[in-house]
Amino acid sequence: MSASQSAVRSRAEAVKVSRTFDYLIIWTLFMVLIGGYHIHFMLTGGDWDFWSDWKDRRLWVTVVPIVSITFPAAVQAMAWSRYRLPFGATLCVLGLLLGEWINRYLNFWGWTYFPVNFVFPSNLVPGAILLDVVLMLSGSFTLTAVLGGMAWGLVFYPGNWPIIAPLHIPIEYNGMMFTLADLQGYHYVRTGTPEYIRMVEKGTLRTFGKDVAPVSAFFSAFVSILIYFLWHFFGNWFSQTRFVQST
């Protein structure tokens, strides 16, 4: 067979090859995202996602959406611009969550015996679906950044509240009040993570009294819009095909 001949001889064969290619690429992309997005998120979100006693209504709500909208924006840019596929954000988040669960279960629990109810990851799926749907229905990266980025930030806390609410029940312990999450952080000893490293309830967003989470979520949503813009450009740059002219 010469280089100019086709590798397939019939339409059925072409369809089969195309589907095989689909599965290979999806699988490879998924695995790359598990690795790349996971490392990025651990380095930037880190402790806010590792421990229940870091998941507060102020900095967790602010930091996690901002640092996690990065890869979804980039992969959306690639998948939508090149293929008109609106699943970039969801694919990223499912990869991240699978990687995180493997890490939390095998390493945090299986290796160092921290209970899983102390080290579960944050749930990012609702925001990812909203981001994908907004892109698909609008077909505009600008609208996706503004509306989708906003939704990504706003839906984060309510999307996680059913998971963390049981750990925010108060308890009196040796004459002091804790939440159960605080007590987890105190009970399950982290030699390398002293209490003062924990960044919770710090900041000045106290204008609305005890309703801190919505203010933090709005702030996070605004910054998520900006980060979306930035990272969708990265996605575009990395998914360009460039040809070199032969001499």
Binding site: R84, Y113, V125, T191
Partner: protein, 414 residues
């Protein structure tokens, strides 16, 4: 040539197999926490731990043990380490093999960071509940913001039993009795599983059809019609509305199931009450101090004035948790870790009782392999070559006085 290549290939393969086998089969127990690698001046001139007691050498899962003692916050705290204005009384163990059931400085529970005052001495205790069977090195430890962990002495404690029987039962302020070890776990799995399925459903919907090649060809050719159908848009709207609906439902359900919740608790605790130490009537001046590298011995020339009303003798020099004792004056029966106890490591040129009102200059030598083993001799490579420690003097009745010493240290290499 081919034979040589084959042999090299075979030997390389055998070497690879041996390496893999060794890596898999040889898994020794880690038995320390890097305490020896911490800069010597950090251990000598920050927190001095003393009068320590590990209440039990062996505990069963669910049983408790306690580490108690005192620590002195050295007044000559090194300039290169942040002051202990934000500190946390921690415990050095390999992960949560125990849970920290309580920790106190004086009578104050200290679940959060605290402010410590230089020059003060505090009592402390840490209550631990056994969780994971094994033999664990249990250290005292103080974390200092801007300074890092300052680790104290460690002692092996054995936990027996099975981890499966461990429980951590608590009663909340809403009246529920829960096991914190597993509380909320099924709820976490349920919500994460449910949302993951929603995400997978969205992916599967798009992957049912050809994904990459035909769509890429169509996009490249500008033929976008048909790539997103009206049916797709309807499904997307269902996902959009369903997502928002599920989020609202979950939130509403959580609020009705857990109507009383509070934010995470945080904040620095100030006002730790130090111990009232007996008034010191002994004055010690360090005339000179040197460390003889080949002999693993530190020598001090001290001028001691006894301003008290009873004769005293020097019985102990404690630095970086290594205790050098003069057995004629003081013998330790507290079960202090043997590797940190030089029970005859202190020799004094004239250790006859120093009478009230007397001033005497003596040569004190603290020698033991611990200088090397605990890498205290590395002090000579530290950025501030000074030593510090606690001197303990005893009178006839066994009364003890603690005196801090702090002076430059000159290494002697020959």
């Amino acid at each position: 040539m081919k034979t040589i290549k084959d042999k090299v290939a075979k030997l390389s393969f055998v070497a690879l197999l041996m390496t893999l086998s060794a890596a898999m089969l040889y898994t020794p127990t880690a038995s320390a926490h890097g305490e020896k690698s911490q800069a010597a001046f950090m251990r000598m001139r920050t927190i001095h731990w003393f009068d320590l007691n590990w209440s039990k050498p062996v505990v069963e899962v669910n049983e408790t043990m306690e580490i108690s003692g005192k620590f002195h916050v050295f007044a000559g705290w090194p300039e290169t380490v942040d002051k202990p204005e934000v500190s946390f009384l921690n415990i050095g163990i390999p992960g949560p093999v125990f849970i920290r059931a309580g920790s106190w400085i004086g009578d104050q529970l200290v679940p959060r960071s605290v402010t410590l005052e230089l020059g003060e001495t505090y009592s402390f205790r840490v209550l631990l509940k056994a969780r994971r069977p094994g033999e664990w090195h249990v250290h005292t430890m103080m974390n200092v913001e801007g300074g890092g962990p300052i680790i104290g002495p460690g002692k092996f404690v054995t936990i027996t039993g099975t981890m499966g029987s461990f429980t951590n039962e608590l009663t909340t302020l809403t009246g529920q009795t829960i096991d914190l070890e597993t509380w909320g776990l099924s709820n976490i799995y349920f919500w994460h599983g449910l949302w993951y399925l929603v995400g997978v459903a969205w992916l599967v919907y798009w992957c049912r059809r050809p994904v990459f090649i035909p769509r890429h060809l169509a996009v490249s050719a500008g033929k976008l019609d048909g790539l997103i159908t009206d049916g797709d848009k309807k499904v997307a709207i269902i996902f959009f509305v369903g997502t928002i609906g599920l989020v609202l439902f979950g939130m509403g359900q959580a609020n009705s199931k857990y109507p009383v919740t509070t934010p995470l608790q945080a904040g620095l605790m100030r006002g730790m009450v130090p111990l009232e130490m007996p008034e010191v009537s002994i004055n010690v001046k360090v005339e000179e101090a040197s460390y003889r590298v080949p002999g693993r011995a530190m020598q001090m020339t001290l001028t001691i004035t006894n301003n008290g009303d009873s004769a005293v003798r020097l019985g102990e020099f404690n630095t970086a948790s290594v205790r050098f004792l003069d057995p004629e004056v003081y013998q330790d029966d507290s079960g202090y870790p043997a590797d940190l106890l030089a029970d005859a490591g202190l020799s004094v040129s004239d250790n006859s009782p120093i009478q009230p009102g007397e001033t005497r200059t003596i040569e004190v030598t603290a020698s033991d392999a611990a200088w090397e083993v605990y890498r205290l001799s590395d002090l000579i490579y530290d950025p501030d070559s000074r030593f510090a420690g606690l001197l303990f003097f005893f009178d006839e009745n066994g009364n003890r006085q603690m005196v801090m010493v702090d002076a430059p240290l000159i290494p002697v290499f020959i």
